[in-house]
Symmetry: C2
Subunit: 200 residues, 2 copies
Amino acid sequence: MQNPEIEFFWDAASPYTYLASTQIEALAQRVGAGLRWRPFLLGKVFEAAGNKMPASVPAKGQYLFKDLQLWAKYYGVPFKFPKQFPINSLLAQRCGCAADAMGRGVEFAKAVMRAYWVDGTDISQPEVVRHVADATGLDGAALIEAAGQPPAKDALRANTEEAVRRGAFGAPTFFVGERMFWGNDRLPLMEATLAGRLAA
Amino acid sequence: MQNPEIEFFWDAASPYTYLASTQIEALAQRVGAGLRWRPFLLGKVFEAAGNKMPASVPAKGQYLFKDLQLWAKYYGVPFKFPKQFPINSLLAQRCGCAADAMGRGVEFAKAVMRAYWVDGTDISQPEVVRHVADATGLDGAALIEAAGQPPAKDALRANTEEAVRRGAFGAPTFFVGERMFWGNDRLPLMEATLAGRLAA
């Protein structure tokens, strides 16, 4: 039997996506699954699905602010809520697609999420993203240039439309075949499913 | 040091509350915490917090329908999505308060959630709730009668207002002191907190 694959739709603007990104590789290893990181644009997903940012309900926003800190402690990973929030992630996600095309999508994804959710830099700015890419061993200037070209722009649009067509309405969104899992908090369910512990 | 107490705000209309209710007693035991079941009215919480049912986003509703089944498998508990959904839980929750006053709130809470989320009965109907209460060893007719009187009605209103004032915007909602945990999916975080594994 072929190993299953986890598709991980990520957007650097989403804090729960950052949290999940710190866990997903170990999870995939534990269950012997492949892992494919796919950039998408959460703002467009919200728009298409008629969904809103969780923080649009004030009491929820206040709760989630504390909840995120708790998850970071639970996982033992660094986390600092950035001053600049929410953020426009269009450039970061297009760069994600350009990095994918260069075979460096995963490194870039991790670096840009860390730059925002740990270091608090403004990843909507080209000079910030260029620096992040350079520090990861990519050619940052070339990446920013590629992000503005049709292949990267089209790839991001296609990934986003595909995720919505398959049922996505938020982030992070995972697929195992056509089984969708939404949210950092669904990692245990995805793992149990992949480990065969939830047979029908 | 005094044992901590978990306050569990429940509404029988909420499927994730039912799921959490199947786990919360074992969790409290594992961490040596007390447990206090408190009926509240989710519809009023949504109204006060400016929140909406998750299913008001269609793609989310479709996902959650499958998600619920998966959690039930994960926990190994019975679950059947009822034909009658959403449901008006005002009577059930007032009966919850009346049962509380009789010292039988927990038994009633479990029975009425099971009647709805396992057996699929229409718990908005007095004769159904009376039958559920009778089967639990309560006097169902007396309970329905008490549910219509000021003490039960006022208690439900007070519990609901208190939960909102303390930050609630959905269900299930748990408090450990003034630390709030929202959702069945936050049980692991609450347990880790109570077990002292998330020290600041």
